[in-house]
């Protein structure tokens, strides 16, 4: 019997923007998803927001950033998921992010989604149908 090729992207793969808060991702969430710095992926320390998004779309990496304004002008034409984390202490957002990763445990689950984690609220927007929902915790 022919063996089916394994899906390499079962776990979500993220490209994270340069920010000190994101050092916790690899330590705390490495069982739920894979995280690689934008600098490591693009091999460019000063890549523009557009370059990062283009790279991530081409190589199918979701983006995690702290800055709501970084990718807002470009996100509508992109497939990858974008997770914005409000500039807060990791003790507030880390657990929310983990619960989000448990909900979207497959890489494909996050495609075309914009997710804002701000304060106690996780806002999810599906960019295809334009539908949004808020989950307060």
């Amino acid at each position: 019997m022919e063996k089916k090729p394994q899906n390499k992207r079962r776990k979500p793969h993220f490209c994270y923007d340069v920010n000190l808060q994101f050092k916790y991702l690899n330590k705390e969430c490495n069982k739920l998803a894979t995280f690689t710095s934008s600098v490591t992926l693009l091999k460019n320390e000063e890549a523009s927001d557009r370059d990062i998004l283009d790279y991530c779309c081409k190589h199918d990496y979701h983006i995690i950033t702290h800055n709501k304004h970084n990718f807002k002008d470009y996100q509508n034409d992109s497939k990858v998921g974008i997770v914005y984390i409000g500039n807060q202490d990791p003790k507030y957002w880390l657990n929310k992010f983990k619960s989000l990763m448990r909900k979207y445990s497959d890489h494909q689950d996050l495609h075309y989604k914009t997710i804002n984690i701000v304060g106690n609220v996780i806002e999810e927007i599906d960019r295809i149908i334009g539908d949004g929902s808020q989950i307060a915790s």
Binding site: V18, S37, S38, V39, D49, H69
Partner: protein, 102 residues
């Protein structure tokens, strides 16, 4: 830290940073295509206020250099010091600007 974070997230303060102060800081730049126009360390995507918050949490410069290195970014002591000084000046301009506008 949360108070600083909320302030920085609002980006309200950006309008109070005069472009003239950039000329004083050789390592700091503002470019709309990088980090959505947030002031950053030239040649990197390191936001100056990220450095400021880390310093307020008493993370040493050497530790910061190592943390950024782990992310693939090279920064120097002088760049980090300047990022902190720039943040202080920008925030003080913001506070004075807010007071004046009231």
């Amino acid at each position: 830290m949360s108070d600083y974070s909320q302030l920085l997230e609002s980006r309200e303060f950006l309008q109070f940073i005069p472009s003239s102060i950039l000329s004083k800081y050789k390592y700091i730049a503002i470019d709309p295509s990088i980090q959505g126009g947030m002031p950053h360390i030239k040649g990197t995507r390191v936001i100056v206020f990220d450095v400021f918050i880390a310093q307020m949490e008493k993370i040493s410069l050497n530790q910061l250099i190592m943390e950024y290195k782990n992310m693939g970014t090279t920064v120097t002591n002088n760049q980090l010091k300047e990022a902190f000084e720039f943040s202080l000046e920008a925030l003080s301009k913001f506070i004075h600007g807010k007071k004046a506008s009231k």
